[in-house]
Amino acid sequence: MRKNWTLLLALLLSVGMVLAACGGGADKEEETKDADKGEEETTTDFKVAMVTDIGGVDDKSFNQSAWEGLKAWGEEHGIEEKKGFDYAQSNDKADYMPNLTRLIRDEYNMIFAIGFELKEDLNKVAKQYPDTHFAIVDDVVEQDNVASINFKEHQGSFLVGVAAAMKTKTNKVGFVGGVDSPLISKFESGFIAGVKSVNPDIEVDVQYAESFGAADKGKVIASNMYNNDIDVIYHASGGTGNGVFNEAKDLKKNDPDRDIWVIGVDRDQHEEGQIGDHNVTLTSMVKRVDVAVHDLSNKAMNGEHHGGEVLEYGLEEDAINVATTNEDAMTQDIIDAVEDWKEKILSGDIEVPKTREETEKFLEAL
């Protein structure tokens, strides 16, 4: 018995010692790095950071877009990552508050909260730290030091709805939502209105995955939809949408002649749809979170933080647009139709619905 213990102890000690040796070596490197750091802090002392929601910074969707905006801002001002801008990733809801507070205590001047899930926590934090500038994407926080960035996703969704209606051959299209919420309702409402404006007879199947991170559920829903003769699916579901793309690509791989399409969201998801020589991404509803983040960071740096204001970014600001990267699929007549409807929205001829009630009224009026 005793022998076992000694053995175990010896093992532990030796591993510990090896580690200590390695650790010591690395420590020196760190010191030199620290020395370098001091010299570089010259350009600006304004620091910007963001807190992701649970999608994470590589969600191929709006967190990633926001981070790209922040990186572009850093590049513009010659700031290095982690020295003047950074992000904190949230793995679950409990991380939002500590992440926000951590960035405040690291003396960031401007902090972006990405996504409506951070609303409650940001509301509390903004009250406690009135001197820090904050901004929230996709929701409204009524505090004097918080700018609320909202997008007119219903406008963009309307236009991709038009594209879907022009593309479908089966007269059935699908919508996959993340979490059923006022935000995603905007996507759903705009999309339905867009489809039905082109052809009221097209059926729209609406499904929610109840998650922004469940690619497996996205795949199952997409599989059901494609089996039921739906040929175009618009997803507004963050990481869940990766499952939709996967399913579409699998089907396309087995049967390259089958016409099935996915409409991406937030970023141009052209890359996500590439399978061999084909691409299943018809188009994407591009929401330029990066533009908004970049723009607002600059404004805050110049001392014009839009605290307490609700900033709306839409077609007018070029912050919402429809991707035309897939030239084979987005034929000229589709692009023309989308442009036509875009003009109608911009001129105020049609008011795109934002909620389910407004959608009902909109459809009755057709």
Binding site: M1, L8, L19, G23, A26, D27, V179, E210
Partner: protein, 350 residues
């Protein structure tokens, strides 16, 4: 023999935590990061100042209760994977009572806590009943109950508690465990009085398991249902009771979040993981209340401190997730290590 056994059960979790830390350090080294800076950041993130200490305790609080929930069922040889669902329904029930009832604090707060315990108990009762009467395995039922809890809760938040919104209003002050005083001494952390309740309940559970007939019977049924039946114990009653108490503990863990940390409930896009982590907490704590409390603090520390590693030590978030997962893996496998070592030891002494 008995004292060496005790030494064993104390040392094994410590060894597994150390092994986990070492494995995490090796990964950091292999990826070109300094493990000492990394762990220093982890430490700072968890205990760096009053705020982080407050948040670490706050994060550990529900783990104590969800750990106890799983541990309690384990003692009766039941595997309650449903702690997650019980946490969610407990959270919902607590917030529901917190919003819709108006009463002075002495009535309101206990009522809200009780509601959470009852909701969790109900969520434990169903699998308990099915197991006791029909022999349906509790693992399958509790997994399913988790999904039922998650999606019905989301639907209730959207359509009953609010008008198609994603977050409910805040609970009344009279049902809140949040404390301005605790917040003010910890630099606005969300530390709340729930920690006292959690520790108190840990003591009660210890008493129940180790010092009462109920606890004795539960353990006996867990060891050998047939022998217990032969000895005149009511096996199905004990199985149901174990699941009900376990569920109530899970519900209380939810109340910590609902009445303490957040003061509301939001539509969840996935599981809160409080219940699932409770399984690892229970295993690491060797299914004893004291062990669970210590393990809960370890989990709270790891989860809270991990957030500091990317910003404080420049270690990428993805790698931090891997490191924390490996530490937890070793920690959770302490159960296997103990089992193997005890088998080994038992074989030798013969």
């Amino acid at each position: 023999m008995s004292s060496s056994h005790r030494l064993f059960s104390v040392l094994i979790p410590i060894i597994s935590v150390l092994l986990g830390l070492i494995a995490g350090a090796v990964i950091m080294l292999l990826s070109g990061y300094n493990p000492i800076t990394g762990y220093a950041a982890l430490w700072r993130g968890a205990f760096g100042d009053a705020y982080t200490i407050g948040e670490t305790i706050r994060r550990s609080t529900p783990y104590i209760l969800s750990g106890l929930a799983v541990a309690f069922a384990f003692r009766a040889n039941l595997f309650n994977i449903g702690a997650e669902g019980q946490v969610i329904v407990g959270w919902l029930a607590a917030v529901w009572v917190g919003i819709s009832v108006e009463a002075p604090m002495v009535i309101h707060l206990p009522l809200a806590i009780l509601a959470a315990a009852l909701a969790g108990a109900l969520w434990g009762f169903i699998p308990g009943l099915l197991k006791a009467k029909l022999g349906v395995h509790e693992v399958i039922v509790t997994i399913m109950m988790n999904y039922i809890a998650l999606y019905s809760t989301n639907e209730i938040i959207r359509n009953v508690l609010t008008d198609h919104k994603t977050t409910t209003e805040s609970i009344h002050e009279s049902a809140s465990m949040a404390s301005e005083w605790l917040g003010s001494i910890t630099f606005f952390s969300r530390l709340h009085y729930g920690i006292l309740l959690a520790l108190f309940i840990a003591i009660i559970i210890w008493f129940l398991i180790d010092r009462t007939t109920i606890g004795y019977e539960l353990k006996a049924v867990g060891f050998n249902p047939h022998a217990s039946k032969y000895a005149g114990m009511n096996v199905s009653k004990n199985i149901i009771l174990a699941m009900v108490i376990s569920g109530a503990l899970g519900g209380l863990a939810g109340a910590m979040e609902g009445l303490g940390t957040y003061g509301n409930i939001s539509v969840m896009s996935g599981f809160s993981n409080i219940g699932f982590d409770g399984i690892a907490v229970a295993l690491l704590g060797a299914n004893t209340p004291l062990g669970v409390v210590i393990a809960a603090f370890l989990f709270g520390t790891l989860k809270e401190g991990a957030g500091e590693m990317p910003t404080g030590a420049g270690i990428p978030t993805e790698l931090v997730d891997v490191i924390i997962a490996i530490i937890i893996f070793f920690v959770a496998s302490s159960y296997i290590i103990r089992w193997a070592l005890l088998r080994f030891k038992g074989g030798k002494s013969k």
